[in-house]
């Protein structure tokens, strides 16, 4: 079956004979070479599927029925029909496929690959996991656009009625489309997490219920806005745009993170699954901090610096960051401690590289330091915000003692919980690979253990007191106290920090062992191939008599 045995002879046609259709077909065919193969395959499949046919037909049918009802209603009520009512109806009809059907089909398209064992066939091709995820996403986006194109004429019809303007329509429409995209990415991520049939079934039910809830929640919000003085008031609110920009940024960064999680899950086990994800998480966190800075600036423009008198702004930055980094740490600390040779080839060589980029590589110790260092950076940012930016005149002390105590205690807790998990998982991983579920379970058990310690401490020190139930059931014992500015335990935060540092020291041998893993050279054949693909760039001549080749004979 050699190539030479059966030569390829394309059917020769002269340009004159070629019809216009054939010419366009040829152009499309050529262009399709540059399109993600998954998109082509998925579109071919989806457009022929009964599920798409029925759901699309039903969407159109409901739009027509709603339009006929609108016209009939307008005639019978002498033209009193509100455009907003019609728009709400159309949005309702469009939202179901966009919020339920399209994301669910994205979820199914990936889970079916595993069920039918076709994912293995994809995995052994030269397609990258990123291409697979993006291919699934784009093909779902094509479906989304088809639904939108089907309903769009109805929106045009609504614009002719009273009570609806284009910005309002565009705003609502944009929100539904963006929400749908977020759900598509979320569903793709969820599908990539489950590989066994039992978990797939469970996840399918959970996703379906979640999507239906999103749909009903979204519709309830839509109706709420509709009856709460109309859309225009919302757009005129000065605090609307800072909040809306936050929502947009949050969605965009979650797309990035969901996409990267799905990609990492599909990446071959010996490859680097962590670095790109950790970079995405840092970007997301930085965007949040940046947005928060914009929010502070925006509010201070209207309300002055006095608003920083209370500590709420500090807690608004600290508490979400703490929860976020705690969750990241829970999963990052469960990675295998020994890097594969493939990953070792990517390790940094320089001192600066080892200092700053090492933490983005896989490994429990690296994950632990990644989470706590990021939280330390947030604490530093809050300290700088209050000491440098907020003028001293606006508050007696640049930063309140309670905020400082909160930062110390929360940092200590992060060191303790993530450190203990790292220590336990390091021992578990030597026997078997800990799943995501096991990592989460260990963290839950640690929290329960922490809760027990705190409960005993509280009962011993204060006795059973119904007023302090919040402290009995808090594994982060001091935090409610500090955030509530009660400050009951003087110096308690230092005790937590000392314990945290103790746990860090307990993990230090493991962290050092991870850092001692050095860069490994690629095999000679691969290095030679890489060198051939990336030839050294010769400097351009600085005058007509210079020949760069002579200066660099190599």
């Amino acid at each position: 079956m050699s190539d030479a045995a059966i030569p390829y002879t394309p059917e020769a046609t002269s340009p004159a004979e070629e019809t216009r259709t054939a010419r366009w077909e040829r152009r499309f065919e050529r262009a399709s070479d540059w399109v993600n193969p998954i998109v082509i395959k998925e579109c071919r499949q989806a457009l022929k599927s009964r599920q798409f046919f029925f759901s699309f037909t039903l969407t159109l049918l409901f739009c027509w029925l709603w339009s006929i009802f609108g016209v009939w209603s307008n005639v019978t009520t002498n033209g009193d029909l509100s455009g907003q009512t019609m728009l709400t109806g159309y949005l309702f009809i469009l939202s179901f496929p966009l919020i339920v059907i399209v994301p669910f089909s994205a979820f199914r398209s990936l889970t079916v690959e595993r069920e039918d064992k076709t994912f293995e066939l994809l995995a052994v091709t030269t397609l990258k996991p990123r291409q697979i995820v993006l291919g699934k996403f784009v093909s779902t986006l094509v479906q989304l656009l088809l639904y939108v194109s089907g309903v769009l004429p109805c929106f045009g019809f609504t614009a002719l009625l009273q009570g609806v303007d284009l910005p309002m329509m565009g705003f609502l429409f944009l929100n539904i489309v963006l929400g749908s995209i977020t759900l598509i990415f979320f569903c793709l991520m969820a599908a990539s997490l489950v590989q066994e049939r039992f978990w797939q079934m469970l996840m399918t039910v959970a996703i379906l219920c979640g999507l239906l809830l999103c749909f009903w929640g979204g519709m309830a919000a839509l109706i709420e806005i509709r009856f709460d003085g109309g859309f225009s008031n919302l757009l005129r609110d000065p605090e609307f745009w800072p909040a809306f920009s936050g929502i947009l940024l949050a969605q965009a960064t979650w797309w990035l993170v969901f996409h990267q999680i799905a990609t990492s899950q599909m990446t071959f086990a010996s490859d680097n699954r962590s670095s790109a994800l950790r970079i995405c998480l840092v970007i997301q966190h930085l965007v949040y901090v940046g947005w928060f800075a914009y929010l502070c600036w925006s509010f201070s423009q209207r309300r002055g610096m006095d608003m920083f008198r209370n500590d709420e702004f500090a807690y608004m930055l600290l508490i979400p960051s703490l929860i976020y980094l705690y969750c990241i740490g829970t999963f990052a600390t469960g990675e295998p401690e020994v890097l594969s040779s493939r990953v070792k080839r990517q390790l940094p060589e320089s001192l600066l590289g080892r200092m700053f980029t090492n933490w983005f590589f896989p490994g429990p110790g690296r994950g632990y330091i990644f989470a706590v260092a990021n939280y330390a950076a947030v604490c530093l940012a809050v300290t700088l915000l209050y000491t440098l930016i907020v003028p001293r005149s606006s508050r007696p002390n640049a930063i309140s003692d309670n905020v400082v105590r909160f930062m110390i205690a929360s940092f200590g807790y992060l060191l303790i919980y993530l450190g203990l998990e790292t220590w336990i998982l390091r021992r578990v991983q030597r026997r078997f690979q800990a799943s995501l579920l096991l990592r989460a379970l260990i963290q839950v058990l640690l929290l329960l253990a922490g809760l027990m310690v705190c409960m005993f401490w509280e009962m011993l020190s204060r006795g059973l007191n119904p007023d302090s139930l919040a402290y009995y059931f808090s594994p982060f014992h001091l935090l409610p106290d500090l955030a509530g500015r009660n400050g009951r335990f003087e110096g308690g935060e230092y005790a937590i920090l000392i314990v945290g540092v103790g746990v860090l020291i307990l993990n230090l041998p493991g962290i050092v062992a991870e850092l001692l893993q050095t860069k490994m050279a690629a095999p000679a054949r691969i290095a030679a191939e890489f060198a051939a693909q990336h030839p050294p760039v010769l400097p351009l001549p600085t005058n007509p008599w210079d020949d760069p080749a002579e200066k660099n004979p190599s």
């Binding site: 190539d3 998954i38 064992k117 052994v124 091709t125 071959f268 010996s270 040779s341």
Partner: protein, 316 residues
């Protein structure tokens, strides 16, 4: 020069089960390697590691010198994997299916068209190009899967039970295609339960049981290796006695070097412990004892018999 396939001290665990236990072998370019073993022996796991679908716990596998663990992307370009399931998509026809995989392997433009035409002609699917895959028979689906495996013209093919569940005609057709691929210089690693077919097709075979490679080599080499007990040679002998072999049963049973005696009419077959000179001595003794010996010789074993002799039918 690297071997086309090299497996070095491969280990893979599934919980307590040691699915692949210290498996090593090498396949030279252009050779066909038959991977045989009972169900659950570790064949599929070893093949999946080689196809970059699983990661070994210890050891490594190489395709043309590229590590399946550290350079899976290079291995994927060189290797075509045909799993034991069809792996077909609904709502696509034969041409669309193959076209997708051609694109997935990075083939573009004329190269993709050429590859599609070549593969469809080779698998005789050109007449079914527009037929939906769901309407194909098992044999056609298997041909389609073979087409998918060779769409990017890989140098190495890994086939896991390609003939399973096929009718005799489809099996023969598939065997012919595989033989043609082998003649074309492809290195093939194939597992099958139909040992007679493997014996015809394979240059070398590897017998695996309970995750351990029990024997590797040509059928004759394995046979020779397994006819050695300690320092002594063990062989199967066949004696035809005129008037019925029952006459020599008592005589043969008294000799300690003879075991596993089987009588079938005139023919007595048994296992003999000893060198060729001892065989000659045995024949002389039989003639001296005045038995009417018609013929005397060693009995060639089939791959099935070797397999049965080497394996013990244990599962993990």
């Amino acid at each position: 020069m690297h071997p086309a396939i090299e497996v070095r001290k491969l280990h893979r665990f599934f919980g307590e089960t040691h699915a692949v236990n210290d498996v090593s072998f090498a396949v030279k370019r252009g050779q066909v390697f038959g991977f045989i073993g009972p169900n659950g022996a570790g064949k599929t796991t070893a093949m999946r590691i080689l196809s970059t679908l699983e990661l070994p716990h210890y050891g490594d596998a190489y395709v043309d010198g590229f590590s399946c663990v550290n350079d899976p992307d290079r291995v994927r370009m060189l290797l075509g994997f045909m799993p034991d399931s069809y792996g077909v998509y609904p709502n696509v026809n034969v041409r669309e299916y193959l076209d997708f995989f051609a694109r997935a392997y990075g083939l573009r433009g004329a190269e993709r068209h050429a590859s599609l035409d070549r593969v469809m002609r080779f698998t005789h699917l050109d007449e079914l190009a527009e037929k939906p895959i769901t309407g194909l028979s098992k044999g056609m689906k298997q041909r389609l899967c073979l087409g998918r495996t060779i769409i990017h013209n890989p140098a190495v093919l890994v086939m896991d039970e390609p003939a399973a569940g096929l009718d005799p005609r489809a099996r023969i057709e598939l065997r012919e295609m595989i033989r043609q691929l082998a003649d074309d210089g492809k290195t093939i690693l194939i597992s099958s339960h139909i040992l007679t077919e493997l014996a015809e097709m394979c240059d070398i075979v590897g017998i695996i049981e309970q995750g351990r490679m029990l024997a590797t080599g040509t059928v004759d080499q394995i046979l020779n290796n397994h006819t050695q007990t300690g320092d002594q040679r063990r062989s199967w002998l066949r004696v035809r006695v005129l008037g019925g072999a029952a006459a020599i049963v008592t005589w043969l049973e008294q000799r300690p070097e003879i075991s596993n005696l089987q009588i079938n009419g005139d023919v007595a077959a048994f296992e003999f412990l000893g060198e060729e000179t001892d065989e000659a001595q045995l024949l002389r003794s039989l003639i001296q004892a005045e038995f009417p010996i018609h013929s005397f010789g060693s009995q060639n074993k089939s791959l099935e018999e070797v397999f049965m002799q080497v394996t013990r039918g244990r599962i993990q």
